[in-house]
């Protein structure tokens, strides 16, 4: 009887562990930086050493599986990364397979950081209207932007700025050497659209004719 109970408990433990493993796999797959076990411990409400035990067994498991990537412990956390044996392919992919030009999104993000530095990622997101995490990460990896300070406000957000390398590439001494933004003069289509948005509250019926008719 008690043996059966113990067995049941074990099964449910295994079950719980399998759940945690899958959640850890999911998080590690999308995490940008190595994830410290303490974060998992907090998330799953489990002891840190229990997390470490699970993660270490996962490390072994991925090593044995002989995939093109592995799970490793690095910089106080865990992360998936490509296997050193595959380095030549990764290198060739970087040199041949990736686009050599900045995408429009990356260009806008870089420009915002350049002109508005120091600036937090959230602020850049707010300006661009989209999440910029991946793009900022890319720019940082390319050495064009970097963390420069922390916001003194609540949350102490990381603030980003452009790097020395960026200045050199642009051929300028400092960001003051960037062409001035000048006063923003919105194009006629923007004016028109803004105007339209005001019409709702306008009492008067004096509305200019629009092309759309």
């Amino acid at each position: 009887m008690s043996e059966e109970k113990a067995k049941l408990k074990m099964i449910s433990d295994i079950d719980a562990e399998a759940h945690i493993r899958r959640a850890i796999e999911a998080i590690l797959m999308v995490a940008i930086d190595p994830v410290p076990p303490s974060i998992f411990a907090q998330l799953f409400e489990v002891q840190v050493d229990e997390i470490e035990r699970i993660c270490n067994s996962m490390v072994d498991h991925y090593t044995e599986a002989e995939l093109g990537f592995s799970l490793i412990r690095i910089a106080g956390g865990y992360r998936f990364q490509s296997n050193p044996e595959q380095a030549q392919w990764v290198e060739r992919f970087i040199l041949e397979g990736q686009s050599r030009r900045l995408t429009a999104a990356a260009m806008e993000t870089l420009a915002i950081v350049a002109y508005k530095q120091p600036i937090s990622r959230a602020q850049v997101s707010a300006i661009r209207g989209v999440d910029v995490e991946g793009v900022m990460r890319n720019l940082q990896q390319r050495g064009l932007i970097d963390e420069v300070s922390r916001d003194t406000g609540p949350g102490n957000a990381v603030l980003y700025g452009t790097t020395q390398e960026f200045l050199e590439r642009m051929g300028i001494d400092s960001v003051a050497g960037l062409p001035p933004l000048g006063e923003f003069v919105p194009g006629p289509e923007v004016v028109e659209a803004l105007e339209r948005s005001l019409r709702v509250v306008a009492d008067e019926v004096t509305i200019p004719a629009t092309e759309e008719g």
């Binding site: 797959m29 999308v30 995490a31 940008i32 998936f80 990364q81 490509s82 380095a87 990764v90 290198e91 970087i94 040199l95 990736q98 050599r100 030009r101 900045l102 429009a104 990356a106 260009m107 806008e108 993000t109 870089l110 420009a111 915002i112 002109y115 300006i127 209207g129 995490e133 991946g134 990460r137 890319n138 990896q141 390319r142 050495g143 064009l144 960026f166 642009m170 051929g171 050497g177 960037l178 062409p179 933004l181 923003f184 919105p186 289509e189 923007v190 659209a193 803004l194 339209r196 948005s197 005001l198 709702v200 008067e204 019926v205 004096t206 509305i207 004719a209 629009t210 759309e212 008719g213």
Partner: protein, 257 residues
């Protein structure tokens, strides 16, 4: 849609109303648009934050209701000129095709939303290159100038006009009553007597015709125009009372403020 309306014939969520009308479960004649607008305005006042989506959706549905209602109120009958009748049917077919198309894309949009909701449950791996490979990255700034950067920044910080409530579907009002009054004052002394049809010749938008009509009513009220109509739905004749001297500005003041 959170807005609920209460009218003598219908009580419930606003967006459902359109469906019911289309299914002929509620008679459009009996629905007072005024009641609906009032209910909506009240709802807006009670709202802590202005809900743009709600407002937009409301305006769209309201516009459709107005269009449907206007269409049903259109005079018709046996006296319709065959050409006009053909025109009405043609217009109706076009509107029908448009409504069907609208409904189709509404459905498609909700399917897209479902797809994107399902897809948003997964996050892509975006960790990027490991340190060892960073030095290999191709030169992304090749050919990028300072000016390119400036342009990109201007593009990014350009105000986003999309946060506007778009009211284009409610016919844009190009004419004002003030202008129409002014035009009539200029034209009428020369023309003397003219039919309403003549006066509105060349105007394509219904709203322009309506504005003209309002201007005529206003001048009639002022006693400078006379109006008569022999048959119901017959020709309306407008004539200038030549002995009346009016000062433009006096009249125009009525409309300002």
């Amino acid at each position: 849609m959170a807005v609920t309306v209460t009218t003598p014939v219908y009580e419930g969520p606003f967006d459902l109303l359109l469906d019911l009308i289309l299914r002929e479960e509620v008679e459009l004649y009996e629905v007072s648009l005024l009641t609906i607008v009032d209910a909506y305005l009240e709802e807006l006042e009670n709202m802590k934050e202005y809900d743009l989506e709600l407002a937009t959706e409301f305006l769209l549905i309201a516009a459709i209701l107005v269009e449907l209602k206007a269409r049903r109120l259109l005079p018709s009958g046996n006296k319709i000129d065959p050409d006009d009748e053909f025109g009405i049917w043609e217009e109706r077919d076009l509107l029908l095709a448009k409504l069907v198309e609208c409904k189709t894309f509404k459905e498609a949009a909700s399917q897209l939303r479902e797809l994107s909701q399902q897809a948003s449950l997964s996050w892509p791996r975006r960790a990027g290159l490991e340190e060892a490979f960073l030095s290999l990255t191709p030169d992304l700034l090749e050919g990028v100038t300072k000016e390119d950067l400036r342009e990109a920044c201007l593009r990014a910080i350009a105000p986003r006009p999309s946060i506007s409530v778009n009211t284009e579907h409610i016919a844009p009002i190009k004419a004002t009553v003030v202008e129409a009054v002014r035009e009539l004052i200029e034209e009428m002394p020369r023309t003397g007597s003219v039919s309403f049809k003549e006066l509105t010749k060349g105007l394509t938008d219904r709203i322009e015709i309506v504005v003209r009509f309002l201007a005529i009513l206003e001048l009639y009220k002022q006693g400078v125009l006379e109006i008569d109509q022999i048959d119901s739905f017959g020709e309306i004749n407008v004539s200038w009372c030549s002995d009346t001297e009016i000062a433009d500005m006096d009249l125009l003041d009525i409309y300002e403020g």
